[in-house]
Amino acid sequence: MTLLDVSESLPVKVVCVGCGLGMSRNLASLGIHAGDIVSVVRRAPFSGPILVRVESTGANIAVGREMAGRITVETERHRDAS
């Protein structure tokens, strides 16, 4: 499951930012790392970016759709079951 599949305001845990070397660094500098709890706040129109909230700091980050599609996440519940 990627960030694109998450319904709004459901907290999820970032599993992997596996989208090339440069990108994980850029996301990390804005505060999104593997292991962080994030949630999707809203989506922009015209297949625009999604707004991601990092729960630990409350920072809001706009992430382009393509990038969001390469951030895999899991729900808290899912993690308990596995």
Binding site: L21, L30, R42, P45, R65
Partner: protein
């Protein structure tokens, strides 16, 4: 980081060769560096609630307490490993020009993220003090931070500040001056044993000639994959670099980390731990009205509608209020001009008339039209709306081959195209920057707004003004689409911080409006007056007729305009406001409709809206994208203007 270039080992003199201590503000984007800087130096650096407000450094002398200091405001950078032009400015500055101390500005409301930069700074041997800024935002989030503990853990002074209110700014300067005169090494982060051992091994490999304190910094940078440092080490000793890269590779493989992620993830973990150790949540965060405002402002449907309604309202306001004011201001000057011309016949009278027209024209532009527009722009920038606009518009902008972040400079272009072009530096890729710079001149800046409001607004009404802006946006989008199909590549995905809304203190908005008004008064107003006198002299000598008849095939035959507008278009290249003033002067009346038909007025405004960007814009373009692309940009503007104006003129024939 001693400032010796390790490639050439040149000894650089002190940055300024004087005894005045030099301090530089370094911090992540939008943490309040420029606001702190302005609190000390007066309004000199532009501020705004979005990342990438400062793309260049600003320098100023200031007196703090009773000491003179030289202050530098550097562009924000998330890390010392730069990822865009603006960040590279900061990194180069740190590498090359020795400040006596750094004031590292941290955003207390996102402490763990900010601390990652502090940990990077601690790797260097640059003395620094920390301004823990935005303490009010942190308090709003219900976070309390143990400042003394943080200072003890990092080994550097930490001063809590609220830059917008000026709280703590003097203390942080004294702390920085103290570390400048008695440098202390910050406590370096302790990584895993394996990482620390890798650092030690690389340190041992580094070529001789580095001071012990900078060896460690270079070792860390090589392990992090810093291309700059790698190149410098490689140029000194190829084998050493190869060996170091081997160590880096092994370290990553052994632990299954990505090669460039080892330090980032370690620093992140250390920063999170440190942040948890020094801060505690004392109460629930205030779920403020500001958050609720976003559910409208960033709503997929209501957001753009609300933005459009707000802008239309704004234009309505400056149209009704500004129009009335403008008439009031202009009339006495017009009478005075005529009286003087009557009193002094000949060349003296012509000069007087030009002088008075220029003075009055400047006032009639500034007061009613420019001031409200500058105020609105300042508010939009400081409140934090621009990054939200970028979020909303990213999807649409991608369709014309642009990047959502371009929305920020492009919207600023409505104030003036020059900051829009410079602001494009905040975009990461060269292609996105180029496209933004090429499209910026098509945005109707405040000077063109003056022309639109004074001609279209006065003679056709508000509906047409709004139609003009829509036309403007459509043309800009069309041009964007066209250019992007010639520049290969796709725009990067959007990745940008959306800061919380901040209510700027009135003082800072007023300072910003004054700063920009003053720059109009100092540069544009004299130009208006000189041009006005020049125009009067040309008229007196009958040279304007020669220019007009030279341009006649274009103005009269092609566009169906009166021959008298020819000379105004020439002046308009210098400043777009001039076209309006010169038009009044050339036609001998402010009631343009008595001399020009409605279609002619429309044709004229369409042409002025799009033709050659003003001189300041062209010069800025040359600096940012070079002669070739600037030439293309100018040709493009001129052809678009000619084609559109010709099409409009057809309606009258």
């Amino acid at each position: 980081m001693k400032l010796k270039d390790i490639g050439t080992l040149l000894e650089l003199p002190d940055s300024n060769g004087s005894d005045i201590p030099t301090l530089a503000f370094v911090g992540q984007p939008n943490c309040g560096k420029s606001t702190l800087f302005n609190a000390l130096a007066g309004f000199k650096a532009n501020t705004g609630n979005f990342t990438g407000t400062s793309v260049e450094f600003t320098e100023s002398l200031a007196v703090v307490g009773n000491r003179r200091v030289r202050l530098f405001d550097l562009p924000g950078t998330y890390s010392l490993n730069p990822s865009d032009e603006a960040e590279a400015v900061t990194r180069r500055w740190l590498d090359e020009r020795r400040a006596d101390a750094i004031i590292l500005v941290l955003d207390a409301s996102v402490l763990s993220r900010s601390l990652e930069l502090a940990l990077e700074m601690a790797e260097t041997d640059m003395p620094f003090a920390i301004a823990l800024n935005m303490m009010d935002d942190a308090a709003r989030k219900g976070i309390s931070i143990d400042v003394e503990l943080l200072s003890a853990r990092l080994g550097v002074p930490v001063v809590p500040t609220v830059a917008t209110r000026g709280t703590g700014v003097v203390q942080v300067v004294s702390s920085a001056l103290a570390v400048a005169s008695r440098p202390v090494q910050a406590i370096r982060p302790v990584y895993d044993r394996d990482v620390d051992m890798a650092i030690e091994s690389v340190e041992a490999l580094l070529p001789a000639g580095l001071e012990p304190s900078e060896r460690r910094f270079f070792a860390v940078r090589v392990l992090e994959g810093d291309a700059d440092v790698e190149a410098r080490v490689g140029s000194l000793n190829r084998e050493a670099l190869q060996a170091a890269l081997c160590i880096r590779h092994e370290l990553a493989v052994e632990h299954g980390w990505p090669e460039d992620g080892v330090f980032a993830s370690h620093r992140h973990a250390i920063a999170v731990n440190l942040s948890e150790a020094v801060s505690k949540v004392v109460r629930k965060p205030v779920r403020s009205k500001r958050d609720r405002f976003d559910s409208v402002a960033m709503h997929p449907v209501f957001g753009p509608l609300a933005a459009f309604a707000a802008l239309a309202g704004f234009f309505a306001m400056s149209f009704f209020v500004g129009g009335a004011l403008s008439g009031l201001v202009a009339a006495p000057f017009e009478h005075l001009g005529e009286a003087l011309a009557g009193r002094f016949p000949g060349v003296v009278g012509a000069v007087f008339k030009g002088l008075v027209d220029g003075l009055g024209g400047g006032l009639a532009i500034v007061l009613p039209y420019l001031l409200p527009l500058l105020f609105l722009m300042a508010l939009l920038e400081d409140v934090g709306y621009l990054p939200r606009a970028a979020f909303l518009m990213d999807g649409l902008l991608h369709r014309i081959g642009l990047h959502g972040k371009s929305a920020v400079p492009l919207i600023m272009g409505y104030g003036c195209n020059v900051p829009a072009i410079v602001g494009a530096r905040a975009l990461e890729s060269r292609r996105d920057r180029l496209l933004t710079v090429l499209i910026s001149p098509f945005i109707a800046c405040s000077a063109r707004t003056v022309v639109i409001l004074a001609l279209v607004g006065a003679f056709f009404g508000l509906k047409w003004v709004i139609a003009f802006y829509l036309l403007n946006i459509l043309v800009a989008a069309g041009v964007g689409r066209l250019i992007s199909s010639f520049v290969p590549g796709t725009p990067f995905g959007l990745l940008m911080d959306i800061p919380p809304y901040r209510i700027p203190p009135f003082r800072s908005v007023a300072a910003k409006v004054w700063f920009r008004t003053r720059s109009f008064l100092l540069s544009a107003w004299p130009a208006l007056i000189v041009a006005s006198v020049l125009m009067a002299l040309l008229e007196f000598a009958g040279i304007d007729g020669m220019i007009n008849s030279f341009l006649q095939p274009f103005t009269v035959t092609l566009l169906g305009l009166p021959a008298a507008v020819g000379v105004t278009l020439v002046f308009g290249i210098f400043r777009k406001e001039l076209t309006l003033l010169m038009l009044f002067q050339a036609l001998g009346t402010t009631d343009v409709s008595s001399v020009m038909s409605p279609v002619q007025i429309m044709t004229f405004v369409v042409f002025v809206l799009f033709y050659i960007p003003c001189v300041a814009t062209v010069i800025t373009q040359v600096r940012e994208i070079g002669w070739k692309w600037t030439g293309i940009s100018v040709l493009l503007s001129a052809s678009v203007a000619t084609v559109l104006a010709f099409l409009v003129s057809l309606a009258g024939r």
